[in-house]
Point group: C2
Chain length 143, copies 2
């Protein structure tokens, strides 16, 4: 499937169900999933999806991951209220990565920052370069 | 390390060597790595890095991944000439993902497209929505 699409011209369409059957989930049945802010283009977080999480995300329009620690579906925002609304979903060339553009309510990161990627390498140092917008304790009390 | 940085104020610095020791490589010794175009913010590709690839990328300023299929360092562009120059590198909140902003020479994707994420879900279809900029055969003859 993905091999044959490599040389396909722009506008080529295939059925989503056929793509689903061809997706290359890893040994644990998961795909890496990248969440990018639909407006700013900022990368907000990275997590994992199993087949069910991906189906639910596409059907509901609300992003659902698979929590590797809890071994269960993780409807982003179910504890914090910080839900993610799906604007666009893409697969990569070999069908083993998901990229989503989303609208984010509140901070994406469990630390209360807008993004999980607040640790920036600067020479031989790493710098925290994003403010905490919401106290995480307050964030998780909301639910 | 990453736990203690969760509540750290903006501007907090820690030594890169200490962060390196705390990074949470997976069972295969790898971290997911996301490459984002430094100017446009577009996600160009997703691959993996081991400790050595990450070190080399930071030291040389040229992006080096770890190829899981070839089980060796993969200096992006060594076959195609489509090198990636590192502009910024970040870790996520729990130290198990790398996000890079890069300058990209030529197409990032082995299909000759600017990005690997050219398969867009549209209802019950998936659409190829990016043109092939460079014939892959010509791309890999260059090296």
């Amino acid at each position: 499937m993905f091999d044959t699409l490599e040389g396909a011209p722009t506008g080529t369409q295939v059925a989503l169900d056929a793509v689903f059957d061809a997706l290359r989930f890893d040994a644990e049945g998961l795909l890496p999933a990248i969440a990018q802010h639909a407006d700013s283009g900022e990368i907000l977080m990275f997590a994992w999806m199993n087949r069910e999480a991906l189906r639910e995300t596409l059907q509901s329009g609300r992003v659902c991951y698979f929590s590797r620690s809890r071994r269960s579906l993780w409807r982003k925002g179910e504890a914090s209220g910080n839900v993610q609304r799906l604007k666009e979903l893409r697969f990569d060339c070999d069908g083993d990565v998901v990229l989503m553009k989303i609208d984010q309510t509140g901070p994406a990161c469990h630390t209360g920052r807008a993004t999980c990627f607040y640790l920036k390498v600067d020479g031989d140092q790493v710098i925290v370069d994003r403010d905490i917008d919401v106290d995480p304790e307050a964030m998780y009390e909301k639910s």
